[in-house]
Each structure stands twice: as C-alpha cells, then as structure tokens.
Symmetry: C2
C-alpha cells in the first residue's frame, strides 16, 4: 500500500508523523485529481477543524523535499500537488548510449493543449532527453 511506504519514507528521513501529515498524504494518494493546497485544506476541514493553511503548505513542502510529492505549476494562480508515482522518461547519452530513468510528472498539460489546439484525440506522448553522461563528459574533457 502506497500510504504505508510513504510513511516509512518519512520515518527514514526523520520526519515526524503527525495526524495532519497522515491525512494530507492519504488525501493526495487517493485523489486522482491534482489538488491545490487550498483543495487539501478544504477537504480536511471536517477532520481537522483547527488545521491552519500554513500546515498544509509546510507539509507539502516537506513532502516535496523528501521526494514524495511533485509541485506542478500550470498557468493558473495556484500550484497543484501530485503524489509521485512511477511514470518516467529516459535521458540518453549521445556518446555511449547509456539510458537513465528520469522521473517527471504531469506533462498532462501538453496533452490537454494538444487536444485543444489540434482537435486530435490524444492517446499518449513520448519524450526523450539527450545529452552527455558524466563519464563521457569527463573523458571528452581531455
């Protein structure tokens, strides 16, 4: 279960597990949308009538620093937050061909815009990032 793993990650990193953190994580994991800080705040109002907005922001920052959560900035006013799952891209070395996994969230926006602009029924996208890996870069430095 994702929540348990997330809590383990917190424990390993020495981050205290408070009821608020538990609830925010749980909400993020179960929510298929990409909630804003305020969405989360409102959603947990019932369970935590006294919780401060600052708590939501603070903890989202903590989760982001630990790598559990991604912050997405679309064009609109407020950031959206996403529990990190396993979707990833590839970074490819142009010299030796090494491929490194690259986790990155939410190019959903690209697909949405593509639909909007082209009228295509978008099914997916692919992206590769090209460059030189550290090893090849240091060899080339000679």
């Amino acid at each position: 279960m994702e929540l348990k793993e997330a809590l383990d990650t917190l424990k390993e990193t020495g981050v205290r597990i408070t009821p608020q953190r538990h609830a925010i994580l749980e909400y993020l994991i179960n929510s298929m949308s990409h909630p804003t800080a305020d969405d989360i705040y409102k959603a947990l109002e019932g369970k935590f009538p006294n919780m401060s907005v600052a708590t939501v922001y603070n903890n989202l920052r903590v989760f982001r620093e630990v790598g559990l959560v991604k912050e997405l900035t679309y064009g609109d006013a407020s950031s959206r937050f996403d529990f990190v799952t396993t979707h990833h891209y590839h970074v490819i070395c142009e010299i030796c061909g090494k491929i490194v996994d690259f986790h990155y969230p939410g190019l959903d926006e690209v697909e949405h815009l593509a639909l909007h602009v082209t009228g295509f029924n978008i099914s997916h996208h692919r992206m590769e990032i090209y460059g030189t890996c550290p090893e090849c870069a240091s060899k080339e430095a000679h």
Copy 2:
C-alpha cells in the same frame, strides 16, 4: 524584422498600438532572458516614468491572447513571458500518419531537472504527441 510583424499582427487583430505596447514588445523581442512582468516594468521605467504595473500585465495578457507571447510558469513566484518564436513539436495521427505542428514553449524546466537529477550535460530533447486526428476519429465512429 520581428517587431514590425508583431505590430502588423496587432493591427490585424484590431489592437491599438500604444507607445507602451510598442516598448513592451520591443523589450520582449530583444531580451534573450524570460522576463517577469516586473522585470519589464522596471526596464521601461526610464522611458515611461508614469507607466503602471497594471499596464504591463494588461498588455502581456493581450499579447498572449493574440498569440505573440507565451506565459511560462516555473516553480517560482512570478510568471515569465516569452516572445513566441518558431520552435515546435509534432502531433501525430496513429491511424493515417498525419503530422500537425504543435507550438509549445518552455520544456526548459524538464532539461534543467534532467541535468540536476542525472548529471547529464543536456543538449536537447524531443517529444511527440500521439493520437487520432479529427478526420480519422469521425471515420472510426461508424
């Protein structure tokens, strides 16, 4: 010259050309950075001592609506604005193979993060978006 074309675009769209708009466009075209609204405001302070910040925001919105300018939202507080040039991606129909140009700005962030995470010296990236074009979609609907 890009500025002249941009002004033509404004004229065609029925947007009045004011000295402020002229200056903001000129600044955006010449600036290789991705300035914030405040950057622009400060940069034009000398020429327009009485210009309001609202004017900058208003006109950036106008330019965006007309398609001359892209608004980029990185993680930080304020949006950055970019004069639209010709870089673009492709949207590909999986049935008939049609390729449609798809203009989209600033996946610079992806490259920055890839550098940060993998240590690769990033040179570029490619992205394609796949789906069904409207024509093929309507044929399939039978």
